[in-house]
């Protein structure tokens, strides 16, 4: 009964969406206020219906209703409660339901907070949103119904993929989807603007908070995915340029570019077509990611069970959404007029460079990801494109951008002077020089690229701080004066400063982890010692035990340095009997300068030893910490006062809390 109710609500939502996609659009076209006014109630009812439907599926999973096929295939009565809930979206059908839930949530948020939008724009934005919803509702109802029953009922479930039974991954898809789907807002705004034929500062101001929200969520999502790969896959790596990882990285690159170009539209009334294009691109990349993961055109360690019929459906959806919007762009784009002009060396120029590098990076990742498909399609060899390609093409591309990132904020709008900007950044130049020299002197054995990475990190952190110091006139005005300036900085400036600082910290982490990782693989017997990067690991032995739905081998290591004990690491290898699949749970102990990382493998079966892998991963924690700072920057920027200007006082008070709650 519950499952049928969920199915019914989903079907009803489709019809509401059809109303929302047509009436307000026609109303906006013909100036019919009543038709346009259908947008808000229908967006809110769509949300309520989908929330109910999602609740029904969650209920079925929580009570382990093994008459529902989706529960049978993805759950097990012994599974811990956290994963019964996370299992709702840990599969193809359920994750689509989460997708449309988030889409409906964003739609209702526009209905709720969009009181200050011009009625025609709002009607069109919500109309476009509803069109996207229709596509996904049809996809679910026709090919991927999560509420399908099974008769006779199963006695127990088939359990969830053990790799996914992990706290990091339980929350990874919701964040990722909040990011992906969040870009649908920017997309809808872009399409509405193309239909209206108008892009101005006010438009950019409405788009930016949604883009910022989507970007912040996506950043968390990508970082969670990477973190999961780091500790769960147990290879000591954190990014593998796997198609599914790339699928989340491409929208991030496009979204980051969009964030920056929207600033130019808002402040300088130029780069409009770029911004519209990037908004389309960011969402297109999100959809493409969905297609690549589910259609089976590419293989990946993360992919859901794939199905060509679904692939055909998503491809048609892609054709309509991406093809349609790019066609609209080709027709209406040239009519968008920009008024602002600027020289190459200027704030706009810096932001344009960011855009170019980000979109080129996005194209490179796309090419690398799809290359095996291209070759396969023309009957060539089966190949896989791995990290060597991405590392040698993508990383050099980002180097000039990180250099420019230090300059950008100190350049003035319209036209600027590079020499003067360099003089203002002299502290940063000196600091970077010292850092390079120090890196060379103390750690001479690292790869050249890692030293460059470290130098870029130092450069970015110092130049961002110098820019902040300049803005508050530190040391040039009395200290109290500077402090009050610091407090009065608009939140969007804080957002920029934090995001750039966070990026600097994260680059340091990537350079460290990429350049100076030390690993040691061996068979160890209890009592044996191995030294990795100066840390002495003693293997204390392994014991076997039982978890809720798995068995474990738990190996214990103590780590000492110069005789002083630092940590005890307990690494696990789990075996999930239902799926007959092992997982590794790496033991990680984070120090300021790096992570101690231990993995236990199989018993060698002959001599009582165990295979162990021990790593020292320098600065890895800096990556996660830097990402957190970036996200904090994004969240603070959303709460900037100017996004609330023009809104009625009551809503103005509500908006920041909503933004904070979403974060």
């Amino acid at each position: 009964m519950i499952a049928e109710a969920g199915h019914f609500a989903l079907t009803l939502a489709l019809f509401v969406a059809i109303v929302q996609a047509t009436l307000p659009m026609f109303g906006a076209h013909r100036g019919n206020g009543l038709w346009m006014a259908m947008d808000r109630p229908s967006a809110i009812s769509q949300f309520l219906l989908i929330a109910f439907s999602f609740g029904c599926l969650t209920y079925s999973h929580v009570v382990s209703d093994f008459t529902v096929l989706n529960v049978v295939q993805n759950s097990h009565s012994l599974k811990p409660m956290l994963y019964k809930v996370a299992g709702v979206w840990g599969n193809h059908e359920g994750s689509l339901l989460l997708w449309v839930l988030i889409l409906a949530t964003f739609g209702s948020a526009v209905a709720f907070f969009g009181g200050n939008l011009p009625p025609t724009l709002r009607a069109r934005v919500l109309g476009v949103q509803a069109m996207i919803s229709i596509g996904f509702y049809l996809f679910m109802l026709l090919t991927s119904n999560p509420f399908e029953r099974i008769f006779p009922a199963a006695i127990d479930g088939q359990d969830m993929n053990p790799l996914l039974q992990d706290p990091g991954l339980a929350f990874h898809p919701p964040f990722l989807y909040l990011g992906y789907v969040g870009f649908s807002m920017a997309f809808s705004f872009a399409i509405a603007a193309l239909i209206e034929g108008r892009v101005d500062a006010a438009w950019a101001r409405w788009v930016r908070p949604w883009t910022l929200a989507a970007w912040s969520f996506l950043t968390v999502g990508v970082a969670l995915g990477s973190w999961w790969a780091y500790y769960e896959l147990g290879w000591g790596g954190w990014w593998f340029w796997d198609p599914v990882e790339n699928a989340s990285f491409m929208p991030w690159l496009a979204g980051t570019a969009l964030l920056h170009s929207a600033i130019v539209v808002e402040k300088r009334d130029t780069m409009k077509t770029w911004t519209i294009f990037l908004a389309i691109l960011a969402f297109s990349m999100s959809l493409l990611g969905t297609f690549l993961v589910r259609s089976g055109v590419l293989t990946s360690v993360h992919a859901f069970a794939t199905d060509p019929e679904r692939g055909v459906f998503i491809l048609i959806l892609l054709m309509i959404v991406i093809g349609g919007s790019l066609a609209l762009f080709a027709v209406r784009g040239p009519a968008l007029r920009s008024t602002g002009v600027f020289k190459p060396i200027s704030r706009e120029g810096g932001l344009l460079l960011n855009n170019l590098v980000m979109s080129t990076g996005c194209a490179v990742v796309l090419l690398g990801t799809l290359y095996p498909l291209f070759l396969d399609a023309i009957g060539g060899a089966k190949v896989s494109v791995g990290p060597p390609f991405f590392n040698s093409v993508f990383i050099p591309l980002t180097i000039p951008m990180f250099m420019a990132m230090g300059f950008g904020p100190v350049l003035s709008w319209k036209r600027s002077d590079l020499v003067q900007a360099s003089l203002r950044l002299k502290v940063a130049f000196i600091g970077t020089g010292v850092a390079i020299a120090a890196a060379w002197a103390f750690i001479s054995d690292g790869p050249f690229l890692a030293i460059i990475g470290l130098a870029l990190a130092v450069w970015l952190i110092i130049s961002t701080l110098v820019e902040l110091a300049e803005r508050i006139k530190l040391f040039r005005a009395p200290l109290g004066d500077s402090l009050s300036r610091l407090v009065r900085q608009p939140r969007s400036s804080w957002g920029m400063t934090l995001a750039h600082l966070g990026m600097g910290v994260a680059i340091a982490g990537m350079a460290g982890a990429g350049g100076w990782k030390v690993e040691s693989i061996q068979v160890m017997k209890p009592g044996e010692k191995v030294t990795v990067a100066g840390y002495e690991y003693t293997f204390k032995g392994a014991r076997e035990g039982q978890g809720p739905n798995y068995t474990i081998i738990e190996g214990t290591f103590t780590v000492t340095r110069d005789g002083a004990e630092i940590a005890t690491l307990k690494a696990e290898k789990r075996e999930y009997p239902v799926r007959q699949m092992p997982t590794t749970e790496a033991a990680i102990y984070s120090l300021f300068l790096g992570d101690l990382y231990a993995v236990i493998g199989d018993a060698d079966g002959v001599e009582g030893g165990y295979v162990t892998r021990l790593y020292f991963n320098p600065l890895v924690a800096w990556m996660w910490f830097g990402t957190l700072i970036m996200v904090l920057g994004g969240v603070i920027s959303i709460s900037d006062r100017r996004y609330r200007i023009g809104a009625p006082a009551k809503r103005a008070a509500k908006k920041p809390t909503a933004a904070a709650a979403k974060a």
Binding site: A330, G601, A603
Partner: protein, 178 residues
Amino acid sequence: MKRLMYLLPLGIFLVLAGYFAVGLTLNPRDMPSVLIDQEVPPFDLKPIRGYEKGFSSEDLKGQVTLVNVFGSWCISCLAEHPMLMEIKRRELVPIYGIDWRERDPEAGPRWLAKRGDPYTLIGDDPESKAAIAFGVTGAPETFFVDKRGFIRYKHVGPVTPENWESTLWPLVQELRKQ
């Protein structure tokens, strides 16, 4: 000219979509891994550093052999290594090795020097040439090749004393009889 620029993204997308449409009709997982009961794909691998002879498909004719895909980076290979040494010590069946995806050409030879070399011949396969031809999905994998040079069985994962006694060794004896 300006209009053309605006059409460019659409054009690129349509080309991509065309590839996707073709891609949907193909299966990337459809690696030629279903080589069971087929002849060993032809390959000719160079020796690993410090070894004189490489390993080619021609070496597999005339007797029942195992082809073991391993790498110094591969943990489970380490786990099965003592068992492979045991097979060699007892002279049960010749094992040929494919040293797969070594980043450092010294790594494979060093690994073998430290732990012992169970292989009759070893081929170096840093670019996965033979591995792809065999349809290897991970290491270790062991292929059972009969006298005619046909692949008869693929064992995924480490060879352990248990699975050797229960299935793999009987299989070798069965193949010998044919």
